[in-house]
Point group: C2
Chain length 323, copies 2
């Protein structure tokens, strides 16, 4: 089980390897929206998302003999790149199973981080069967995207940094809004803040129509999304909260927030203008909630969890929401 001890240990292993990302804010944005909005800019993390933390944490926690045989991950996006670079820097092989229709740039980047990419056809092939076969043949260790204690601990180091940076900024009380997919980042941050910054309480943000975490928090049991496509927030479209992450969310998080794809694009444009950072839609959903939802406190901290966006989508945000 992930707890503050495991998060502290992950932080010690990440030191000097992952980046301490800045907590940004913009006076003109605050003035325009009537609250203080701080942004934990994980888009500036290595590989462009917080996923490098979890990948490094999990890989560095393996015993050396197991680790040397290599790791495997399923991902079409940020987790793939995070695990690939973490493996490369541990000098061990990484095998990443990606759908053959994943964006070419993500496949190319994952390969460029030194991973062997194995493509499969979503329509005709069984990803889990391919993974199981490879894991057995090569004695690889599967690095799950969120439902793993060491992955949650790695993402939780984001929360340790938020606690320190909020204290430095004089923030004693705030709502921390997280971009929530499977709940690894949210659970990790919630555990870290419970231990280190009791005035900071966590709420999830999700794309409208894919609010499995919000509905699960409301009903008290794991609820699933009806579909896995239909939002531009691809990075955080997961079927349901995890078996490990959901009990943590349930214990520590307030009601879930939702924002639309349009609001995510609008948040990307405002981040471009006021914060000079590049966000992907899924990485902007917490900022969107911070900007456009009512009944939030005077001070809000949101994760900007990723910035791996293609030019076409970014152009859409600029075209629609800048002058």
């Amino acid at each position: 089980m992930t707890d503050i001890t495991l998060i502290d240990a992950a932080a010690a292993r990440l030191r000097g390897h992952a980046r301490v990302t800045p907590l940004l804010n913009a006076p003109l944005l605050d003035a325009a929206f009537g609250r203080r909005i701080f942004i934990k800019a994980e888009c500036l993390q290595l590989t462009g998302s917080f996923k490098f933390r979890g990948g490094w944490s999990a890989i560095s926690a393996l015993d050396p003999t197991t680790r040397a045989r290599g790791v495997l991950a399923y991902s079409s996006g940020n987790h793939a790149q995070g695990v690939a670079l973490a493996a490369q820097r541990h000098d061990i092989p990484a095998t990443i199973i990606m759908p053959s229709d994943a964006p070419q740039v993500k496949i190319a980047n994952t390969r460029a981080y030194g991973a062997e990419v194995i493509l499969y056809d979503r329509a005709t092939e069984d990803r889990d069967a391919i993974g199981a076969r490879l894991t057995a043949e090569r004695s690889l260790t599967l690095i799950k995207p969120f439902d793993d204690p060491q992955v949650i601990a790695g993402q939780g180091t984001t929360g340790l940094e938020i606690a320190t940076q909020a204290a430095e900024a004089g923030i004693e009380s705030a709502t921390v809004i997280t971009c929530c997919g499977g709940g690894g980042l949210t659970a990790g941050i919630a555990l870290a803040l419970q231990a280190r910054a009791r005035g900071l309480t966590v709420r999830t943000a999700e794309p409208a129509g894919f609010d499995d975490a919000a509905r699960s928090l409301a009903s008290g049991r794991i609820e699933r999304n009806a579909a896995m496509t239909g939002s531009i927030c691809d990075a955080i479209l997961t079927p349901a909260p995890g078996n490990l992450t959901f009990p943590i969310l349930q214990r520590l998080c307030g009601p879930g927030l939702v924002a639309t794809d349009d609001e995510a694009l609008h948040a990307m444009a405002l981040a471009f203008t006021h914060l000079r950072i590049v966000l992907e839609p899924g990485g902007a959903i917490a900022l969107a909630a911070a900007l456009f939802r009512e009944n939030l406190p005077d001070t809000v901290i949101c994760t900007a969890s990723g910035g791996n966006v293609d030019a076409e989508t970014f152009r859409l945000a600029l075209d629609r929401f800048t002058t």
Copy 2:
């Protein structure tokens, strides 16, 4: 005269007010260009450029009685915003004289930071006469954009951070490339590194055709640009190096580098993809030189000095240099 003592004192005054910006890098960018490239991301500074440092340094160094009467600056861009916010946070009035054809968003932002903006017609009115009259009538203190010891000291705090962050990253030897307009940032960084990181040596980067610093360094005397328009790198188009900054550049900097507007746009696109930061053309010129010039060492650090770019110019970079 600015020296390391003055820079250290400026750093003490800036602490908790200016942002310590991160030193970023991107493994895939390094691999593609065959050298290690670190980026000091001053686009993430308050007001979107390093100019806030100089503005804060100069204003905070004034004696309280003088300061309380207010400050004045001439600027159509980043210096205006830096001085305006620094004045607002000192709770003193700022008067900024801007050309009436300056971009509306820059005028609006400067006003939003609490400054009184006085517009003048470049064709028919004399900016200096307006400034002199206002300075006398209101007993304002002029905050120059670069040729002022306390402004140079403020910009030099960027160099102190580079020295610390380079040491943390294990960098003992590197060329530091600065985006160079009037030379305030370059001079400040050069002084800081001379005192704190002798293995880091500074070179200027300028837009092709507006290479007054490079030509001045080559000839040994202050050379002027033939024109003040004709490059998209508006933030760093200055007539000539300053009387205070040039002797420092001459003493401490290597030969000046030049990059084209196209290379600046290309650097902006690569920063979008690999670093997830937003750069304006003038703020990308050092990165452009780091990427596209030959005969540079294995490790280069460049300033990304500003990110105040309109969507139209940014779109141009995406359209031309992303896939």
